[in-house]
């Protein structure tokens, strides 16, 4: 009898260890496994053996999710950059030639975009759009290219693929705003005129000046979720305004999630230093909450409360690599994330499920596969009709 019990508890231990190794254990399970590992040399050895076997037997998983072509292109570029240091003079000439050709190419396509009739403008549902200061709306197609011109007709921004890059031109004195909107199911990148990179998640809208003005703060307005790599400029603080919350930065990397339907605005700091504060109160460095790398600050829009905690950065920035990770997340929040990511509508009539916590991660799976895996692990009764999903 004793012996049997021992076996069962041993088996349970093994499966929790496996969960831990696979990075899918709940935090209480994590603590349990960690304590078990630390409690004796034998346990540690056994853990190492299991973990090594797991890694050794799962190479395919990474092979399937890794884009070696893309990685190699990146590597090749780094090497050429290295080589090019020696041939600088030559390469400058080449670069100029390349820029001219690209500009010409863009110009042609741009004229075409401008000439398309208004019908297309009406059908912007589901498309990435760029709203200019004068109210004009341009549709951005991910395999196309457009350019943004200022009042004098100078080119100040160019889009290629999923990136829109602004460049700093002549000194401007008036702030001219553009608004970029990314629908559900899509993502997009912008490089602002100061060199700041912004990755926009699905269902996000950002308003920013075409050109920042010397001597003034760099202000942008965000609704939704974005990852910022702010270009260093000590004299011009970069401020992300999100509802009543301001996030103030000098030069750093961080993620902001502030969807209108979420009560909480999250800011996760990856590198550098940011401070956050209620913008209904004037900025006071001593009053603002200062964030250290690896920390997350949550702002409750309703109670106006600010809370700082340690956070797993990779969890909050996974979307920038096309992954979605849920860790102990209520089912209702998961559904919202899935709706954004896959551009689907999900109706949940099973209220008892809404607040249940789940842990999972997806990247290349289709929405059907996502639900299949939920069903497999948690027995969920659902039906999928095109973009409509109903859970009973």
């Amino acid at each position: 009898m004793l012996g049997r019990l021992y076996c069962i508890s041993d088996y349970m231990k093994d499966s929790t260890i496996l969960k831990y190794v696979k990075n899918i254990a709940s935090s209480s399970e994590e603590r349990e496994v960690e304590n078990w590992i630390m409690s004796s040399k034998e346990n540690m050895k056994e853990f190492n053996r299991l973990k090594a076997m797991h890694i050794a037997s799962s190479f395919e998983a990474t092979t399937n999710t890794t884009n070696v072509d893309k990685a190699y292109t990146k590597y090749d570029k780094s090497i050429s950059r290295h080589l090019n240091r020696r041939k600088r003079v030559f390469s400058v000439v080449l670069k100029c030639a390349a820029v001219i050709t690209i500009l010409l190419g863009v110009k042609l396509i741009y004229t075409k975009v401008l000439n398309t009739p208004d019908i297309e403008r009406l059908n912007i549902e589901g498309a990435i759009t760029l709203e200019l200061d004068n109210g004009d709306i341009k549709i951005i197609s991910e395999d196309g290219t457009i350019e943004v011109v200022d009042v004098k007709g100078n080119i100040i921004g160019k889009q290629q693929g999923t990136k829109l890059r602004y460049q700093s031109t002549s000194v401007s004195e008036k702030l001219v705003y553009n608004t970029l909107t990314v629908p559900y199911g899509k993502r997009f990148n912008i490089v602002l005129s100061d060199g700041t990179e912004v990755m926009l998640n699905s269902g996000t809208s950002i308003k920013y000046p075409e050109q920042f003005i010397k001597g003034k703060n760099r202000n942008v307005f965000l609704m939704g979720e974005a990852f910022f790599k702010v270009a260093k400029d000590k004299n011009h603080p970069f401020i992300v305004q999100s509802g009543d919350l301001d996030i103030r930065v000098l030069g750093t990397q961080f993620n902001v999630s502030s969807y209108p339907e979420d009560v909480i605005t999250n800011t996760v700091l990856v590198e550098g230093e940011v401070s956050v504060y209620d913008n209904k109160i004037a900025y006071e460095p001593t009053e603002a909450v200062l964030l250290a790398p690896g920390q997350m600050v949550s702002w409750d829009k309703e109670s106006r409360g600010i809370e700082v905690e340690e956070a797993d950065i990779s969890l909050y920035t996974a979307w920038t690599k096309g992954k979605i990770i849920f860790r102990h997340m209520p089912f209702k929040n998961i559904l919202k994330k899935l709706e954004r990511h896959y551009n689907v509508t999900i109706t949940n009539t099973n209220t008892s499920l809404a607040n249940e916590l789940f842990t999972a991660s997806f990247d290349i799976e289709t929405i059907e596969e996502v639900f299949m895996s939920f069903d497999k692990n948690h027995n969920i009764d659902y039906t999928i009709n095109d973009n409509q999903i109903i859970i009973n």
Binding site: F47, N48, A52, M53, F59, T63, A71, S78, H82
Partner: protein
């Protein structure tokens, strides 16, 4: 398992790396990248950091090409590089997270001791080699022929087309296929240069 080690290690391959032959780097990269990323994920638990570490590792391999001579086993060399890069990363992470709660520190300590575990290292290094050897599946023969002629005999595409009596377009396709899959047997690769 031991005689397989000899398959992968080779002076002539190192020589190519030393000379900065881009094809040697590309071969190595395409063979090893995802596998090293996998090990690195196992060590660190994070995909992005893992990819960055492996990119840097290959960059370092290229930058340090003049110092590669003493390497006798490229598989073991690459594995060791990943291992130490991950150890460094965790050390750095520990310092960065100095102020953080003890549970994170515990996690990092466990990761740290795992990377240093010799039995685990041995298993992973051997399995890495097995995977590479498996991965060096042979290309369809015609594809391989074209590829070898182009890359190693230095023939122009139209010359190969003439030689093998196929169109230049076919040659282009074969080469891009070969490059894409790069399932070229390293041994074969090496004998071409001896």
């Amino acid at each position: 398992m031991n005689n397989k080690v000899n398959n992968i290690s080779s002076d002539s391959f190192i020589l190519l790396l030393e000379k900065g032959e881009s094809i040697a780097y590309e071969t190595l990269f395409r063979l090893y990248y995802d596998k090293l990323v996998h090990i690195s994920i196992g060590y660190l638990g994070c995909y992005d950091d893992a990819e960055e570490i492996v990119q840097n590792l290959f960059l370092k391999l290229w930058e340090d090409k003049k110092k590669l001579k003493p390497i006798s086993n490229i598989n073991s060399y690459l594995y060791t590089m990943v291992k130490y890069a991950c150890l460094d990363f965790i050390k750095h992470e520990k310092i960065k997270m100095n102020f953080v709660n003890s549970s994170l520190e515990k996690k990092l300590s466990i990761q740290h001791q795992f990377i240093k575990d010799e039995a685990a290292s041995l298993l992973l290094e051997n399995e890495l080699e097995n995977k590479i050897l498996e991965g060096i599946d042979l290309l369809p023969e015609k594809c391989r022929k074209v590829f070898l002629k182009s890359r190693f005999e230095g023939l122009k595409h139209h010359e190969i087309a003439k030689l093998l009596d196929v169109s230049k377009r076919t040659v282009d396709n074969h080469i891009s296929n070969a490059l894409k899959h790069m399932r070229l047997h390293l041994k074969e690769f090496l004998t071409l240069f001896l």
